[in-house]
C-alpha cells in the first residue's frame, strides 16, 4: 500500500511496536518532512505516527493500492475507532484468564487422548489450546496469564519439535537394524 501524504509521495504504511507509521521514501526534502510532522530516526529514516482519524481512513480504503491525503480528503476523514478497539478490552483480564484456563485444560487433555485408540484427536485439542492462547494474547495484550502461557507454549513447541526429530531418527535406526537382522536370518 502506497500513501501520498500531501507533498510527500510514495510513503509506506508500517507498524512500529504495534503502532501504525508512515515511512517516508529516502531522498525526500527534510524540511518538508519536518513540516508535515515526520521525525528523523537514529537509522536516518523519517517516520510519522498515524493518528486514529488517519488510520480509520486507511482502514476504510485498505483494499486500495494508493491512498491520497490532501486538504480535501482530510476534511472528509471521519473517526473510525478500529485502532483503539482493543485498548478498552485490555483491562478486561477476567475473560483473558477464562480463555487461558480453557487453553491449559485442552492442552492437558491432549496427553491422555494421545494414548487412546484415536491419537489423531489429540491434535485437535493441541491446536484448539494454541488458538485460544493466541486469542487471549491478541485481544488482551496486557494479560500476564496470556503472556506466560504464550512463552510456555513456544517452549513446548520447540521441545515437541526436538522430540519429533529424535523419534524419527530413533525409529529409523530401529527399523534399519530390524531389517538388517531379518536379512542376516535369511
Amino acid at each position: 500500500m502506497t500513501i501520498h501524504f500531501f507533498e510527500i509521495q510514495n510513503c509506506t504504511l508500517l507498524y512500529n511496536m504495534g503502532y501504525p507509521i508512515f515511512l517516508a521514501p529516502d531522498g525526500t526534502d527534510e524540511e518538508l518532512l519536518a513540516m508535515r510532522g515526520f521525525a528523523k530516526q537514529s537509522n536516518g529514516k523519517w517516520i510519522r505516527y498515524v493518528d486514529q482519524f488517519e488510520y480509520g481512513y486507511i482502514m476504510q480504503l485498505r483494499n486500495c493500492e494508493e491512498i491520497v491525503f490532501n486538504d480535501d480528503t482530510v476534511k472528509n476523514i471521519t473517526y473510525f475507532p478500529i485502532q483503539y478497539n482493543s485498548t478498552a478490552q485490555q483491562e478486561n483480564s477476567g475473560t483473558a484468564n477464562i480463555l487461558c484456563i480453557i487453553s491449559v485444560t485442552l492442552m492437558l487433555i491432549t496427553v491422555p487422548i494421545f494414548f487412546t485408540k484415536v491419537p489423531i484427536l489429540s491434535g485437535f485439542f493441541f491446536i484448539a489450546a494454541m488458538v485460544l492462547m493466541i486469542i487471549a494474547r491478541v485481544m488482551y495484550p496486557k494479560s500476564t496469564f496470556a503472556k506466560i502461557l504464550c512463552i510456555i507454549y513456544i517452549f513446548l513447541a520447540v521441545i515437541l519439535l526436538v522430540i519429533s526429530i529424535a523419534a524419527i531418527i530413533t525409529l529409523y535406526i530401529a527399523c534399519n537394524e530390524c531389517v538388517n537382522s531379518l536379512s542376516s536370518c535369511s
Binding site: M59, N63, E65
Partner: protein, 245 residues
C-alpha cells in the same frame, strides 16, 4: 540416461531431512515476508507458531481419513489446507482484512518452495513414485526401503516445476503484480493436477482425490480474486467520488 537410487541410507533418513528443511525454509521465509510487508511481528510470529502444527495435523488427517483410518502419512494437500487455515485463523482473530490479504499472499508464495523441497525428499526415499517408464531419465530404486523397476521420475519433475513456480512468484512479488497469489495458486493446482496423471497411485483411476482437491483450490482462488477485484473497484469509486466533491 537412467537414474539409480539406492535406499540403503545410513543414519539420517533423507525424507525426514528434506521435510524438516522444507518446513524451516518455508516458515522462515513466510515470517520474513510478513514482517517485510508490514505485518506486525507478533501476528507474523503467531502464524509461524501455528502453521507447522496445523499443516502437519491436516497432512496426517487427510491421509488417515482418505484411507478410512488404515494408513498414516503426510498429504501435501492436507498440509496446504493447514497452512491456509492457520493464516485464516489469525485473520479472524485480528479482524484486519488488509493484513489478511498480504498474509494469504505470502503463504501462497512459500508453498511451492516447501512442496519443491519435500518432493526432493520423496524422490530420494522413493515414495509418491511415478508410473512404469523406460525412456530417458527413468529411475530405478534398489535397497531395503524401496525396490522398483524403471519408473518415471515424477517427484523430480514436481520438484523442478514447483521451484520454477516459486521463482515466478518471487519475480511477480518484486514487480508488484496484482493477483499474484491467485495466478500462483491456479498454476500450482494445474501443475499438480496434471503431474498426478504420471503417478503410480493414479493407475486405474479416472480422477484422483488430489486432482479433485486441486480443482477445488483453483476454483477457490478464482472466486477470491473475482470478489477482491469487485471490492477494489467499489472502493476506488468511493475514493473518486469523495475526491470529486
Amino acid at each position: 540416461m537412467n537414474i539409480h537410487i539406492c535406499t540403503d541410507y545410513f543414519l539420517f533418513p533423507p525424507y525426514a531431512i528434506m521435510i524438516l528443511l522444507s518446513c524451516t525454509a518455508g516458515f522462515t521465509l513466510q515470517y520474513i515476508l510478513n514482517v517485510k510487508r508490514g505485518i506486525q511481528p507478533m501476528t507474523s510470529g503467531f502464524i509461524t507458531l501455528l502453521s507447522p502444527f496445523m499443516s502437519f495435523f491436516f497432512a496426517f488427517l487427510l491421509t488417515y481419513a482418505a484411507s478410512g483410518g488404515q494408513k498414516t502419512g503426510l498429504s501435501s494437500m492436507g498440509g496446504l489446507f493447514g497452512m491456509y487455515l492457520s493464516v485464516i485463523t489469525l485473520a479472524l482473530i485480528n479482524r484486519d482484512k488488509g493484513s489478511t490479504k498480504i498474509t494469504l499472499e505470502n503463504c501462497t508464495l512459500v508453498l511451492p518452495l516447501m512442496y519443491s523441497i519435500s518432493k526432493t525428499g520423496c524422490f530420494l526415499a522413493g515414495c509418491c513414485r511415478g508410473i512404469p517408464y523406460n525412456g530417458p531419465f527413468c529411475v530405478k530404486y534398489s535397497g531395503k526401503v524401496t525396490e522398483t523397476g524403471c519408473i518415471f521420475p515424477v517427484q523430480l519433475a514436481e520438484a523442478m516445476v514447483f521451484f520454477i513456480i516459486f521463482a515466478i512468484g518471487m519475480i511477480m512479488l518484486a514487480k508488484k503484480c496484482r493477483h499474484t497469489s491467485v495466478y500462483l495458486l491456479t498454476l500450482c493446482a494445474a501443475s499438480k493436477g496434471l503431474l498426478d496423471f504420471l503417478r503410480e497411485s493414479h493407475i486405474g483411476k479416472a480422477v484422483s482425490l488430489n486432482q479433485l482437491l486441486c480443482l477445488a483450490a483453483a476454483a477457490a482462488g478464482i472466486i477470491y480474486a473475482a470478489a477482491s477485484e469487485r471490492e477494489l473497484r467499489g472502493n476506488t469509486d468511493t475514493v473518486r467520488a469523495s475526491l470529486a466533491k
